[in-house]
Symmetry: C2
Subunit: 216 residues, 2 copies
């Protein structure tokens, strides 16, 4: 019966732990420990245990964690045991690359629609989808029960597109556009901004003195 106030950094790390557990399972490993997960995730074992403690007790003292069990629990915690219906808005190069991406089913993300504002693109195929005109968005989102959208339009139209998605009832946006979106509190946005990442990287390379102390 969880539990408010989970740090968002914790959520990010849980996603990492889940991936590591999947890898361990593929390697045939049956059990693991906070120490092993910590090493692979580049965090401390304290941190791993504290992160898990927000949600319950999943290990056995003296023995560690069962890989399959912990993996199942993390999937449940992260909301990855139910299907999510997804649409793409903006079928430029990035939108098309995402439509072609093969591994969404891995956690039951179901790509069901793709929209573009350019009428010339309507009717073209991308991945297994037919691109639809942006005018169809409201009706189709409602009809398909779209839960979340990949927003891959230019920054200049990101807010307009986000408004349309919100009005249509979408509750989550993975925002690839370099723009801060204004949405109601009931709608969740996760930014994926590689240009911003590139600039953060440039900063780190120009200021080696921040963040970490040098060693030996």
């Amino acid at each position: 019966m969880p539990n408010p106030g989970v740090p968002s950094a914790t959520v990010g790390r849980l996603v990492t732990y889940l991936r590591l557990l999947t890898e361990l399972e593929e390697e045939g490993t049956r059990t693991t420990s906070s120490d092993e997960l910590a090493t692979r995730a580049h965090v401390s074992a304290f941190q791993v245990r504290k992160d898990l403690a927000y949600f319950g007790r999943f290990g056995t003292r003296g023995a560690g964690y069962t890989v399959a069990t912990l993996r199942r629990e993390l999937r449940r915690i992260l909301g990855l045991t139910r299907p999510w219906t997804v649409a793409i808005v903006g079928m430029g190069r990035l939108g098309q690359a995402l439509a072609d991406y093969p591994n969404f089913d891995l956690y039951d993300f179901r790509l069901r629609a793709a929209f573009d504002a350019d009428p010339a693109k309507a009717g073209l195929h991308a991945g297994g989808l037919v691109i639809e005109p942006i005018e169809a968005l409201a009706d189709r989102v409602a009809e398909l029960g779209v839960d979340m959208a990949f927003l891959t339009v230019p920054a200049s139209s990101a807010q307009v597109a986000a408004d349309a998605l919100v009005a249509a009832g979408v509750r989550g946006i993975l925002n690839f556009a370099p723009a801060v979106l204004d949405v109601p509190e009931t709608v969740h946005v996760e930014p994926i901004d590689f240009l911003a990442g590139l600039k953060r990287l440039a900063y780190q390379m120009v200021r080696p003195g921040d963040d970490d102390a040098a060693v030996g």
Copy 2:
């Protein structure tokens, strides 16, 4: 003469402020304020001023900031006034999409080489580049003076590719692979993991109670 211990969240926000200033400049706005930047970035005005204070004094009391000046200062702080030579490793769909991306020059990121482990891809064109075999990486990185790399290989080969880049002298990696890289402290990594973002989004949608209190 700055200054250690700048929070990494501050660096991320500086990148946002820079983008907003660029937009303001394009709109023809001459001056702005911590208030205006804060509103557009969805943070508090305190936060804007504190972030800037890590690096100096850029405004005029009573009047605010000159857009052009503050923009120039942020570019300098973020290391965006010098050219960066960039290579792509992994010419799958994502690598090709990045090679085609037109706007790197905007801040003088110069895409100069593209590598792929698949010999069948060597010699193919992508963007303005000819794809080279991965065996050429060490020599070409040294020859071109590559500063940073976009790592767009599958997760299973990410660490091997990172090792090769580090050995070749690359000092920064924009890591698109879903993997935690193990690199020396002198090498900087910035992760861009959209699958992780997707899972964080799923979590938020399943737990509306965390992070923010509901209103109205």
